[in-house]
């Protein structure tokens, strides 16, 4: 590589870091501006001198009953949806990667169509249906759509992983007298665990991020997740949003994402790319 190219790569790398981290730094900085400073107007990236709030905004946000409830809802709903979705997707992806059966193309096409579905167009009928079934504004009312919409991603990611698994081992187990089901459970599941884990992370991201279902299918803090709670969080004066409080809430809601990214960076990249194109 020539020196010119090397300098280009270094500049590019710095630009990527700025692109990704500057807005995050901004929202963190905003969360330390005091609420008085925000009301009076405090332009600038960093809190002005005397306009800092220390940890006050975080204390206020975490003291807010509705926000605490939203965190609880988001964690509970996302984890349950992720768990169930990954189990169902694992079964389907195994069948797609491994077995010859009628309707295989149908499943793949259906998954593709659903991944591209305009979510808002379902809100009306689901709103109506969920109220009839009595699951409007409940956890299951959100878990079910989250599962349906994460299944395509999970099925793709998993079937891509499953194709890489050394299947001779399954055949060896079958030769030794194991049924298809035993070969699946005893041999393949342990081998497939890393892929399953990646699918789980991507599913969790989707559920954690969802906003459309979160605002349309809930009406109270009974099931309202964090994104919806943040958007309804207007404070005492609805014409002057409490920017720094919101920023503190936003930072709190981003912490789980950052922790997951830090721990599992490699797996997420592999999962994202293998799901869509050969990686």
């Amino acid at each position: 590589m020539s020196t010119k190219n090397r300098i280009g790569v270094v500049i590019g790398a710095i630009l990527i870091l700025l692109w990704c981290l500057l807005p995050v730094a901004w929202i963190v900085s905003l969360s330390f501006k005091s609420q008085e400073a925000i009301t009076n107007g405090s332009p600038g990236f960093l809190p002005s001198s005397g306009g800092g709030a220390g940890w006050q905004n975080y204390a206020d946000v975490l003291a807010d009953e509705q926000f605490r409830r939203a965190i609880f809802n988001s964690i509970g709903i996302s984890l349950i949806a992720t768990g169930l979705s990954v189990i169902i997707a694992t079964l389907a992806a195994y069948a797609i990667a491994r077995l010859e059966f009628a309707g295989k193309r149908f499943v793949l096409t259906l998954a593709l169509v659903i991944a591209m579905f305009p979510v808002v167009s379902l809100v009306g009928p689901l709103f109506d249906m969920w109220r009839t079934f009595g699951i409007y504004d409940t956890w299951p009312g959100l878990i079910i759509p989250y599962m349906s919409f994460t299944l395509p991603l999970a099925i793709w990611t998993l079937s891509a992983f499953f194709r890489e698994i050394p299947w001779e081992m399954e055949q060896a187990a079958q030769v030794d007298g194991a049924t298809s089901w035993q070969a699946f459970r005893k041999v393949i599941v342990p081998l497939a665990a890393p892929g399953v884990f990646t699918a789980a992370i991507l599913t969790f991201f989707f559920a954690w991020n969802d906003f459309v279902f979160g605002i349309s299918l809930t009406s109270t803090e009974n099931a309202r997740p964090i994104p919806a709670a943040l958007s309804f969080f207007v404070g005492s004066d609805p014409f002057n949003r409490p920017a720094s409080l919101l920023a503190a809430g936003a930072v709190v809601s981003t912490i789980p994402i950052i922790v997951i990214v830090l721990l599992f960076q490699r797996k997420i990249v592999a999962g994202l790319t293998s799901g869509a194109v050969k990686g």
Binding site: E100, F101, F149, I257, L272, T273
Partner: protein
């Protein structure tokens, strides 16, 4: 060569139990995918059919007893309303501009990530943060950044007055929305392109270099043609995702100054005004436009999704 194509041959070797085997395999396969199919249809096909049915009625949740059949009138109302066309134009504009910019920036990012030798982990970790962050949070972050009382953008940009109100008129409002959208989704684009870039053979690049091809020629004649399917898949996914833009608009402008998208219009009719009849008609139209866009992209660019996924 994938295991899928090997396996049946191996099994066909044992002639005696071919039919039993394949019948068992078929039924196991169907049983394994059944729960996934059921769930996916429960929340999409069934409500979509219901929307199709409701769209033929004048039906408001505030007066459910006055529901009456009006045929295709809701569609006529929607399609003759300038609001629908204005919002469709907005949505198409956002889709075309954001995808085009993301493609260019995403490709540059992918090139850098492909070549970079130091701090690989740090860069890949950072690029996942915008991807993973909640869209609503991204919307808030950018809304406050553009705000003239508490943001920093006006102070940093030359030629822009410190009291410029970005959300005061259409043009700057829609730019702010697009900035948030582009910031959040470029990393996804660049990761898909990075996977495509990894497929371009280094030998071929080296050969082109030896033959005297300039960097620019190598880019257009070797790299881009060889990652065509990756680019097409990324464009298709992002375009359809951009067409349903909702979160950023809800948070940043709530549709003020005419910055509404079709998704936002549909949401407003159904959830805020309880007009399930016309709202359902808009839902159906939204679904049809997404299908149309998918069809156009696949036809125009001849995207072969099966090949891209090695489905064959």
């Amino acid at each position: 060569m994938t295991a899928t194509t090997v396996a049946p041959d191996v099994k066909r070797g044992k002639r005696a139990d071919v039919s039993d085997r394949s019948r068992a395999e078929n039924s196991l396969g169907i049983r394994l995918v059944a729960p996934a199919i059921f769930l996916m249809l429960l929340v999409t096909a069934f409500p979509m059919l219901r929307a199709l049915y409701l769209s033929l009625f004048n039906y408001s949740l505030t007066a459910p007893d006055e529901r009456k059949f009006i045929g295709l009138s809701n569609y006529v109302t929607a399609l003759t309303d300038s609001l629908f066309w204005r919002d469709t134009a907005n949505t198409v504009l956002i889709m075309v501009v954001t995808v085009a910019i993301e493609l260019v920036i995403g490709f540059i990012f992918a090139m850098v990530m492909h070549r970079v030798i130091f701090a690989r982990g740090v860069i890949r970790t950072s690029i996942l943060i915008p991807y993973g962050i909640i869209t609503v949070v991204s919307g808030f972050a950018w809304q406050f950044a553009f705000s003239n009382s508490n943001g920093f953008v006006n102070g940093w940009l030359p030629f822009i007055g410190d009291d410029f109100n970005w959300f005061g008129q259409y043009s700057s409002g829609i730019i702010a929305i697009m900035v948030s959208e582009i910031w959040k989704t470029t990393p996804f684009m660049s990761l898909l392109l990075l996977a495509g870039l990894a497929q371009v053979s280094e030998d071929m690049l080296e050969a082109a270099k030896v033959d005297g091809a300039t960097w620019w020629q190598r880019l257009w004649k070797v790299i881009l043609p060889n990652m065509r399917s990756a680019i097409m898949v990324a464009v298709l996914f992002r375009a359809l995702d951009a067409y349903r833009i909702f979160d950023n608009i809800f948070v940043m402008t709530a549709g003020a100054q005419g910055t509404e998208s079709v998704s936002f219009l549909t949401y407003r009719q159904v959830i805020e005004q309880f007009q399930l009849g016309i709202g359902s008609a808009l839902s159906v139209l939204l679904f049809l436009s997404v299908l149309l866009i998918a069809f156009l992209i696949v036809k125009i660019f001849r995207v072969d999704l099966a090949a891209a996924r090695q489905e064959g």
